[in-house]
């Protein structure tokens, strides 16, 4: 253990500032959505209306932000993972990141399709609506409604893995991976 070879934290480059900003904004939105979503499906209290009034416009916002993030990721690719990372961890890291992106994109789309098939209006705010993207259909609605729950639970589990891995990198491996996203100081890339 004492011979753990190079501690590359100083050399681990950071994500660009715009990527970090989008990541933490999305983290806040997605976590809020998950807790609001699971909470509103389990209450008959006045909280139901409050929660669903946040859930729908926030879901539309997640869809908008994830599209911005995908474009940003293409323009500003993430820094490479540490060179010494074992192959399976590399696969797990990249796989979970793609899964997170896929779920952040698909869940709001399923929600939108679901409301269209119900049919319920898809209200962003006031009289600002999104159009229905599916014709009314109860069978399709029932399937989408279930899919929405299953994917949301999968997103929560993927978040737990992502959060756990971040803590593992930051507290145990100390390889600079957490700092590449979580440090708000001057970019190491600039200092290097």
């Amino acid at each position: 253990m004492t011979e753990r070879q190079p501690r590359p934290s100083q050399r681990q480059p950071q994500f660009p500032a715009i990527s970090r900003l989008l990541h933490w904004l999305m983290a806040l939105m997605v976590l809020s959505m998950l807790f609001i979503g699971i909470g509103m499906a389990a209450t008959e209290s006045p909280r139901y209306h409050v929660l669903i009034s946040i859930h729908r416009p926030l879901g539309i916002s997640v869809l908008a932000v994830v599209i911005i993030r995908i474009v940003n990721r293409l323009l500003n690719p993430p820094p490479p993972l540490p060179a010494g990372l074992p192959g399976w961890q590399r696969v797990a890291a990249e796989g979970s990141h793609y899964l997170l992106y896929a779920l952040m994109l698909i869940l709001p789309l399923v929600g939108w399709c679901m409301l269209s098939a119900m049919p319920y209006p898809v209200v962003f705010a006031g009289s600002w609506h999104l159009p229905a993207i599916l014709p009314p259909n109860p069978t399709v609605y029932a399937w989408l409604r279930q899919t929405h729950t299953v994917l949301a639970l999968l997103l929560f589990l993927t978040f737990l893995v992502h959060f756990g891995a971040a803590l593992l990198h930051g507290l145990v491996l100390r390889d600079g991976v957490l700092q590449s996203m979580a440090s708000f100081g001057r970019s190491r890339r600039q200092r290097a």
Binding site: A41, A42, E44, Y48, A142
Partner: protein, 379 residues
């Protein structure tokens, strides 16, 4: 470049004990987040009133009827239009209430209760559910209104307890009178509301019934002024009190069949009457009526000229959830807790019956029955 303090900590190798402690800490943090999630989802709260428990209570009271609405299960579709007078446009900016605006309407008449094959009876609560789609675009409006003057309960918990108290006892097949008595002891508002509900005039049918919003909403105008309102659909035809002979008819669908025959003769009309609340009128208690002296506005005329069974090609209302919280800009929820509870329950009811679609039995009022009556025959 001098390493900062954080980096010098990072450079320190971890002892095995420290590593185990940190891994345990990470485990505890993740477990905590998961437990909070599970708690919010209601899995640790067996007494929280959830949509699942509300649906379960309906099933225990009325039995399982897959594919049907959990409440107001027996119904029939109607359609027509709403012509706004514009008289309420100063209170609400909703497109549906603009002067001269015509909205297409898909509606549903129904009887309260989760029994899709109950026999029509005079005392059973009648409902009118409406979905307005303004011709000029703008927000959709849904409302589900009843022929009682006030709602029997003022919270979701009260509603749930009332369902449980009315459940049939498995040994006798009848409700336990002691359970209802105990419920009423704890719900004096239900006793007061019940007296008003029992004192109402029961008209001869759907066509001459007045349907009330019961819950309070808020109209918001272009200037942002918010006004508490309740509304009612009042029939244009004269109200005829239900005769004893009518209820004695053997036709189990006599209320629906009369409606079909009446629409065959001429379109049926109602006036949308808006009651304007004052600041001290109760907005969060649907068991309490507002003073009769309140200003009332004739906001427009509803015309229903077509009728069809829920089943078959004409059943446009079957898959519409008349969720009272589907509101256009200009109409908002009040602080009435029943509204949130209805919205939650209606959405869950829709989900369940959509899942059960293939198991749904034919509705009580069949396409054949409607066709026969529209042709001038008997059901």
């Amino acid at each position: 470049m001098a390493p900062d303090s954080k980096e010098s900590i990072e450079a320190q190798p971890l002892t095995p004990a420290a590593m185990v402690a940190l891994l345990a800490l990470i485990g505890v943090v993740l477990l905590f987040v998961a437990i909070v999630f599970v708690y919010v989802g209601g899995w640790l709260s067996p007494h929280r009133l959830t949509q699942d428990r509300m649906m379960q209570a309906f099933q225990e009271l009325d039995g399982a009827h897959p594919g049907f609405r959990r409440n107001h299960a027996k119904g029939m579709c109607v359609s027509g239009w709403f012509d706004s007078s514009g008289a309420a446009a100063s209170l609400s900016k909703a497109a549906v209430l603009k002067a001269g605006e015509r909205s297409a309407v898909i509606g549903r008449f129904a009887l309260a209760g989760g029994m899709p094959f109950q026999a029509d009876a005079p005392g059973q609560v009648r409902s009118m559910a409406l979905r307005f789609l303004p011709a000029g675009g703008g927000g959709e409006w849904r409302t589900a209104i009843n022929n009682i003057p006030v709602f029997p309960v003022n919270t979701a918990q009260g509603f749930y307890e009332q369902l449980l108290a009315a459940r049939p006892d498995p040994s006798t097949g009848k409700p336990d009178p002691a359970a209802m008595k105990a419920f009423l002891v704890h719900h004096p508002e239900t006793v007061r509301a019940g007296a008003l509900i029992n004192a109402r005039v029961v008209s001869s049918g759907f066509a001459d019934s007045t349907f009330n919003s019961l819950d309070t909403f808020r109209f918001v105008n272009a200037a942002g002024v918010s006004t508490p309102v309740r509304w009612a659909m009042e029939p244009l035809r004269p109200v005829v009190t239900e005769a004893a002979a009518q209820a004695a008819r053997t036709d189990k669908n006599y209320l629906f069949d009369d409606l079909i025959a009446q629409i065959r003769q001429q379109p049926l009309k109602w006036r949308l009457m808006i009651t304007v609340g004052r600041p001290d009128d109760p907005t969060n208690d649907a068991t309490r009526p507002w003073p009769v002296a309140r200003q009332r506005i004739d906001a427009g005329t509803l015309t229903l000229d077509a009728v069809s069974s829920e089943d078959g090609s004409g059943g446009a209302c079957l898959w519409i959830s008349y969720d009272p919280m589907v509101l256009p800009a200009g109409i908002e929820a009040s602080d009435d807790p029943i509204l949130s509870a209805r919205s939650a329950a209606y959405a869950r009811s829709l989900t369940l019956r959509a899942e059960e679609k293939s198991q749904k039995a034919p509705s009580a009022v069949t396409p054949q029955e409607v066709r026969a009556l529209l042709a001038g025959g008997k059901p």
